[in-house]
């Protein structure tokens, strides 16, 4: 049984938040929205989100890129997508360096972002499966192997 896929949308524009939420409702299990970095962090800490979509420019002293860094510090396996109205090369490179999964410029093409969200959820599903498989594996013959190595060292 897969873990539910939760999405957090962070943008200061209410209509973009609502538009994205409506457009992506079918491809994720649960969506929450936040209008600032602080609100986003509160919700992120309170819930269990696998994907965060954040606008770069936001009111306050911390922007969307700072949010990416903070989210990655708290839960490194979280996937992040950055959207921005100012699609410059510098911002894109910066976002990727901070660990963003994708960089999408406004106006957002719903089909494109949907594809990326599906890809992200697929990625998380695989991660979960991998995790489960690892947990269900019988304990490996680790002690045997290490004793072999130890023996070899001794013989040298």
């Amino acid at each position: 049984m897969n873990k539910p896929f939760h999405l957090l949308i962070v943008d200061d524009e209410p209509n973009i938040r609502s538009g994205l939420a409506k457009g992506l409702a079918k491809v994720v299990d649960k969506i929450e929205t936040a209008s600032s970095v602080n609100e986003a962090l509160d919700k992120f800490d309170a819930g269990d989100f696998q994907l965060v979509i954040a606008d770069v420019r936001m009111p306050g002293d911390r922007n969307g890129l700072d949010l990416i860094t903070l989210v990655k510090q708290r839960k490194p396996e979280t996937t992040t997508i950055v959207i921005t109205a100012h699609g410059t090369m510098e911002t894109a490179v910066d976002a990727m360096r901070r660990g963003a999964f994708d960089f999408i410029s406004k106006p957002v093409d719903l089909n494109l972002i949907r594809e990326q969200v599906i890809k992200a959820s697929e990625h998380h599903r695989l991660l979960d499966e991998n995790h489960e498989l690892k947990e269900n594996l019988p304990p490996p013959a680790k002690s045997q192997a290490s004793s072999e190595i130890a023996k070899r060292y001794r013989s040298c």
């Binding site: 209509n15 100012h86 093409d109």
Partner: protein, 449 residues
Amino acid sequence: MFTEPTSQSARSYRFAVIGLSLLSTTALAITIWMLVDFLKEQNAVDELMRDLPSRSQGPAKFLADELRWQFRFLILVVINVVVTGIAVILLWRAYHASQTSLRDFKALASDVLSGLDLGVITTDSEAIVTSINPRGLEMLDASMTCIGKPLAQFEEAALKQFCDEWMIERSPATVRDFTVSHGGHTRQLRAFCQMLCDHEGNEVGNLLQLRDVTERVLIEQRMRRMERYMGLGSLAGGLHHEIKNPLAALSLHAQLLEEQLEGAGASEENRQTLDVIRTEVARVGGVLESFRDFASVDCLDTNTVDLVATLRRQLELMRPQAVQQNVQLEFDVGMDEVLVEGDQLRLEQAFLNLIINAIEAMTNGGELFIKVHTSGEAAQIVFTDTGPGIPANLMDKILDPYFTTKNCGTGLGLALCDKILRQHAGSLDFWSSRSGTTFQVTLPMKTNK
């Protein structure tokens, strides 16, 4: 540059002086001749007195005394004449000296006037030209024969009209700009007017000064443009954010609506309406992007750029369109390479805009000459087309953003071009007449440091 009004009278003075000296020399000769005569008469009287009886001695003695006095008187006359002669010679010398110094002074004055980079014209109170310096002749494309004719003879520059208007206000701030063209060059002249007064302070006419302000007008144009663009960068950023976000929301919801309609089986009409919304939103987005490109002060990716190779590439790129529009492309370059420091992509964009503009200006075909040359530390690229030229009333506006005469154009082409060149510490200037338009790009050359 000055006429010689006194040559006739100077000659007649010289004749009078020569005549008078001849006359006094003759008078001197006659007086000396008379003196000799008197001496002879005295001797004759002395001989007679010896032979005369003593009774007649009295009157004879009186006669001899008279003769002696007359002789002394004549000597006085001779001395007088000689002294007068010396005085005349001294006067003559003084006259010569003053003539020479006057000539020197005039030469200096005319040297000063010739050396000035100003055109200087003097007129009398009836607006007849009384003098003009060589620079003035050059500026107005006139010859010395213009002296003595009315000021109204200069048709290209309405100096007479300006002079008349100036006489009403008499303000030193009143200036007038004229455009004159001769020899294929268009020059911008600025005229200043002043009163011309003689040594007693009487107004005897006007003094007109002409200054060639072609370069200065270009600099002023550039300054004005620069002022206009100041702060445009931050405005663009703000505007971009303020419009782009609502636009993004609009676009998102339009897409949602489209999807909902698709599901419910939308009518053709509804689909068309949504199509319009989508294309218009995309269009506003495009306009915003190009405005930001134009106004933003982003960094240049500076490298060494070879202008010759760059232009050659651009021309190859444009050749198919040129052929289609029946435009011949001519590239004239004397050097193998001209290197400048700059952003290759941006410079290419600027050149391409100029070439496209020139080709599109020649709707009935023509020729586009592109010439590269260097002068001092600047490289110049001149784009000359044989199109119909830019109407005079639009000249001031063609580099303004969003100014366009085309049906499909953003009006940012030349504005962007100008901005790119300014970013490279270069400039974009242009001249236009009915036989074509010339755009001149000036860029600082790469220095070998």
